[in-house]
């Protein structure tokens, strides 16, 4: 794993700008550190050997103060510009990754897991901070300041420079060490973290079920195990990181010790002077400082980098449906017929196809009931109409145009949908409804609630439309949730209404209400209802039984 990722650079141009700035600051700081060391050497030599008094070195001391201030300022600038870059990069990566996840898995995450994706784009990318604000700046310093010091020392004291140069090959060695061991390890570590969060989320979501079967406590053990696994993976990464840091530390301290000893011996011989030698001794730790910092920051920043790579993988996910390069505008299904022509559709890893050579026409303005037993493909049909996926063979046309020629978003704008298992965002009733129709007026909201038989329900809530419902708010029963979701579908001005099991979880009276509401719908809408509920039959102008047609 290189310290810099080409792909990342391309993805986020801000990084390049940051690097140019960092190099300029580093060059300045190299200059300052050399002057700083020379000043200290000169002061010590003058006072110690030259017998100078305080007044005669006071100008030098003042210069030292000024340089200290400048160096502190430089460090500040470097770090804060790194932080700014990190914020920019993480925001961009998060947005693009999430967007692509929705594009690639519109019908649900499938093989991805919520906990994993969520931790990657939040705390994972958050770990880019140490990478940009510490690791990279130190790396730049190591690339600029360390060689500059070496060159300067070579010019002042070739013997010390030679000692420094001997230890330098350790640095590529260190890079190799890091590169080899860390890539695999960090990946595994991130994997363990994702597993842990995905598992936790899964457990907490189903905790009520687990507790009903007395298996709540039993999860402690699994959590302990995944957590221990995570610790082991982490310590594995850390051992490598620390070991390479140890190598660098040793290289640095041993060469400082050696430089001191050799300078000492040559001073005794009288072959060098104290002032420059002392400066070299001050410079020696500065040569290694950025390298040591790189090693120390490596592990923290490797996390961020690994998360960034994972985000790039998400960005590279293939979209679920083809988007035509020049999409046509979507015909209106309330005036144009929808045809499913010779459709084949199968889910990967399942035995038979759900549809094979399936044909069906939905006339404009028609009420179609799609009936059939459980698992026969009613929901699948709806998700094909929503273009969550495309059939493997055959085509779906609207007004004669293949759905694949349309912009998926433009097509979906014509559709309203009641999912079989609606998931309402945690928000107020009004927000939940406006999710489907952002500019609906309050009257329209009430009308939709009325139509979905939940006017009384909402009118009875403490803040009516402004009551928070769902997670973190007023809990709704299954039937209530479905009715609100139905209202949400009805409030959307759509020309194709897709209803998946509209009467599930409702009693006879509730179902009758819904039937009534559906009966009152505007004539202009095409309505497709997927349901096993035979009492909906009279409502439909036409019924297709999937079992017979599909297989």
């Amino acid at each position: 794993m290189g310290p810099l990722d080409r792909r990342l650079l391309r993805e986020a141009p801000a990084i390049r700008r940051f690097l140019y700035g960092a190099f300029a600051l580093a060059a300045l700081s190299a200059l300052l550190v050399i002057v700083w060391a020379e000043l200290i050497g000169r002061i010590v030599a003058r006072v110690f050997l030259g017998g100078a008094d305080l007044a005669s070195v006071s100008r030098l001391l003042a210069a030292l103060v000024a340089i200290a201030a400048l160096r502190a300022g430089l460090g500040w600038a470097l770090e804060t510009s790194g932080q700014a870059t990190s914020r920019r990069v993480r925001g961009r990566l998060r947005r693009r990754a999430l967007k692509q996840v929705f594009r690639a898995r519109p019908a649900g995450l499938g093989d991805l897991r919520t906990g994993e994706v969520a931790t990657t784009v939040t705390s994972g990318l958050g770990a880019l901070d140490p990478y940009f604000s510490r690791f990279l700046p130190q790396l730049v310093l190591a690339a600029v300041v360390s060689p500059a010091i070496l060159v300067w020392v070579a010019f002042r004291d070739p013997v010390s420079a030679a000692i420094m140069a001997i230890t330098l090959p350790l640095i590529p060695l260190f890079a190799v060490l890091i590169g080899k061991a860390a890539e695999e390890r960090t990946k595994r570590r991130l994997g363990a973290l994702s597993l842990m969060s995905a598992h936790f989320l899964d457990v907490v979501r189903g905790l009520a079920t687990l507790r009903a079967y007395r298996r709540g406590r039993a999860q402690v053990e699994t959590i302990e195990r995944t957590s221990e696994q995570f610790r082991e993976e982490t310590m594995g990464t850390l051992r490598v990181a620390f070991l390479s840091a140890l190598v660098l530390e040793l290289a640095s301290t041993m060469s400082i010790a050696l430089i001191a000893a050799v300078i000492g011996i040559r001073l005794v011989n009288g072959s060098v002077e104290l002032g420059p030698s002392f400066a070299v001794l001050v410079l020696a730790p500065e040569l290694y400082l950025p390298l040591r910092a790189v090693a120390a920051q490596f592990h923290a920043s490797a996390d961020g980098l690994a998360a960034a790579r994972r985000a790039l993988e998400l960005i590279d996910l293939a979209p679920a449906v083809i988007v035509a390069p020049r999409p046509q505008s979507a015909p209106d299904p309330s005036t144009a017929a929808i045809r499913l022509e010779e459709i084949d559709f199968a889910y990967a890893g399942r035995a038979g196809p759900v549809f094979s050579g399936f044909d069906c026409a939905i006339q404009p303005g028609e009420r179609l009931l799609v009936a059939g037993g459980s698992g026969v493909g009613k929901t699948t049909l709806i998700s094909l109409l929503l273009r969550f996926s495309d059939p493997q063979r055959g085509r779906i046309t609207v007004g004669g145009i293949d759905l694949r020629e349309l912009d998926p978003d433009g097509w979906r704008r014509r559709i309203a949908w009641l999912p079989q298992d609606p998931r309402l965002p945690a928000a107020t009733v009004a927000e939940v409804l406006r999710f489907a129709a952002p500019d609906a007026s309050e009257e329209e909201l009430w009308a939709a609630l009325e139509a979905a038989d939940c006017r009384a329900l909402v009118a009875g809530l403490p803040a009516r439309l402004d009551t928070r419902v769902g997670e973190g708010g007023r809990q709704l029963s299954s039937g209530e949730r479905r009715r609100i979701a139905l209202a949400r579908a009805l409030v959307r001005r759509s020309s194709l209404l897709l209803l998946d099991e509209p009467t599930a979880h409702l009693d006879a009276a509730g179902a009758a209400q819904i039937r009534l509401a559906l009966g009152r719908l505007e004539q202009k809408q095409t309505v497709v209802i997927a349901s096993h509920d035979t009492s909906l039959l009279p409502l439909a102008e036409r019924t297709i039984r999937l079992k017979e047609v599909a297989r």
Binding site: I40, A68, P106, A107, T122, R211, A212, G373, P419, H532
Partner: protein, 551 residues
């Protein structure tokens, strides 16, 4: 120190040996670094006087020794402290989950799923900095600085005083500035961070709806909005942290100059041998290594404290049902009875149960009907001890349900909940946990009774089929039936089935009920919550829930 932080430290007690060790190692490493530079400074100053080479032997040896031990001690310190920190996290996850578990369902109030994940991943992870950044660095700095000042005092007390003052003022000033500037916003930051995670988790969970209603960009904008707020805080905090570091750097420069000044006048005044000048300078410069992490420590202690607060805030909630001190032994069977039960979710909401009474005997088949939202699921919750009554009694075998251990009650009374939650694992594991250790045959039989075995056995991977996250790779009806199979497998004496046939076609539903009633050997008591009026005549009794009463 905040009370939350103190409680967190108490949680860490078992690890205190490791912590003490890591602090000693850390201080030792810094001391060795100081020793290295000081001795080196002395060594070359002394050499400048051109003494016999042999007299330098001790100093040369010491330099090497300090060099090696600094690197080695630092390596050990890192290993020990990180290992301790991650062990602590493991414990914390377990204890967090152990306290969370009894709160579900019902006890979590306004906490959202994503928020829980945020706390579990984010806030717990933050706790690693409790030692690594908040606790250890100040203690290490204290030990190391006292050592450095004492060493300086041997050479020149006034220089030691200047150094001590420089270290103390720099450390306290830098730490105080960062702490003051970040304390107020640390909580806000922790909240925003969790909100970001929540929002992302929620967005992922409602993905299909976001896509279908063309709300992806809108949702991503909302996420970016949170990120922007967070970024603003991050920027402030980052700048302050960088400022703290710059202050330390500048402080070290000033202190060096001051030490040089007093030492110079001591040399001029004849109170100090000139050879010690360089040693003092380098000692002063290198002892600031201990102070460098302090601004970050001050900032992190705020973040750690607010993360701790958030964790405790969640787990300190009262459990919705209490466990008896000395639970009664659970009878093999008995009559399950509700007498005049009253319950409401919060005092400002109307009564859900308002004098409901009924009984369930082994072998009896009872149906419970009522409008959507009438409180049927609430009754189920009371009978499996998820909810505590506000008035009246729920008894088993004549004793209050609360007198038994709630897990014992759940062993006797199985609830197949309405939400039919599936875990992201195989079909087998999704059923088996209801009775761990069940054989595949038993699982197949249970799936058979739930009317879904034919389908499962037709799958290429059979029981090993992965069902997807929350079961989104199987159809709604299949999901429901897999969840139902758990209740059959559990072998409980009472089965409470919450809408077992919702979303199922007539034929399948009939088949399941046939099976339920036909099982002659089975004299389990059965309470079926249903909306389906057509199947009511099969039951021994039909209870209707109206206005919180059973009629």
């Amino acid at each position: 120190m905040s009370p939350a932080l103190r409680r967190m430290l108490a949680e860490a007690r078992p690890l205190r040996r490791r912590l003490a060790l890591s602090i000693l190692l850390g201080a030792g490493s810094i001391a060795a670094g100081v020793g290295l530079m000081a001795t080196a400074g002395y060594l070359i100053s002394k050499s400048a006087l051109q003494p016999p080479i042999l007299s330098l032997g001790v100093a040369i040896g010491l330099v090497q020794l300090f060099g090696v031990s600094r690197a080695a001690l630092r390596y050990l310190e890192r290993l020990v402290s990180h290992d301790a920190a991650f062990r602590f996290l493991g414990r914390l996850r377990v204890s967090f989950f152990e306290r969370l578990e009894p709160l579900v369902p019902g006890g979590l109030g306004s906490a959202r799923m994503g928020d829980l994940l945020g706390r579990f991943v984010g806030d717990v992870e933050t706790m690693q900095f409790l030692f690594l950044r908040a606790l250890a660095p100040p203690l290490v700095a204290l030990v190391a600085c006292v050592g450095a000042v004492l060493a300086a005092a041997i050479v020149l007390p006034v220089a030691a005083a200047v150094l001590g003052a420089g270290l103390a003022v720099t450390a306290l000033f830098a730490a105080a500035i960062t702490r003051r500037a970040t304390r107020a916003s640390a909580r806000h930051e922790a909240r925003l961070r969790a909100e970001l995670t929540s929002r992302v988790v929620e967005a992922l969970a409602t993905g299909p709806e976001l896509v279908a209603f063309s709300r992806v960009d809108w949702e991503l904008d909302a996420i970016d909005g949170i990120d922007r707020d967070l970024g603003r805080l991050d920027r402030r905090h980052g700048r302050i942290a960088a400022l703290g570091e710059a202050l330390v750097f500048f402080g070290s420069g000033l202190t060096l100059v001051a030490v040089l000044a007093v030492a110079t006048s001591a040399v001029v005044g004849g109170r100090l041998g000139g050879v010690w000048l360089g040693m003092l300078a380098l000692l002063a410069l290198s002892s600031f290594e201990a102070v460098r992490p302090l601004p970050l420590a001050a900032q992190q202690s705020g973040a750690v404290a607010s993360a701790a607060e958030r964790l405790f805030e969640l787990t300190d909630r009262a459990a919705p049902v209490s466990e008896p001190e000395n639970p009664l032994p659970i009878p093999a069977t008995g009559v399950l009875r509700l007498e005049d039960a009253r319950l409401r979710y919060t005092p400002d909401l109307p009564w859900v149960l308002d004098g409901a009474s009924f009984e369930l005997r082994p072998g009896r088949r009872v149906a419970l009907v009522g409008e959507s939202g009438a409180g049927k699921t609430t009754i189920a919750g009371v009978l499996v001890r998820f909810l505590e009554l506000d008035g009246g009694r729920a008894t088993l075998d004549g004793h209050d349900l609360g007198a038994y251990a709630s897990d014992d009650v759940r062993g006797l009374v199985a609830l197949a909940g309405q939400d039919a939650h599936l875990f992201s694992t195989t079909i087998r594991e999704n059923v088996r946990f209801a009775r761990p250790g069940s054989s595949d045959e038993e699982i197949a039989a249970a799936l058979g009774r739930a009317g879904v075995w034919d389908w499962v056995s037709s799958l290429p991977e059979g029981l090993d089929t992965y069902v997807g996250e929350t079961g989104d790779q199987v159809s709604g009806g299949q999901r429901r039936r897999i969840a139902l199979a758990r209740a059959f497998l559990s072998g409980a004496r009472f089965l409470i089935l919450d809408e077992p046939t919702a979303q199922l076609d007539r034929a399948t539903a009939e088949a399941i009920l046939d099976d339920l009633f036909a099982a002659g050997t089975d004299d389990a008591g059965l309470l079926v919550i249903t909306h389906d009026e057509l199947m009511l005549d099969r039951f021994d009794a039909v209870l209707r829930l109206e206005n919180g009463r059973v009629v």
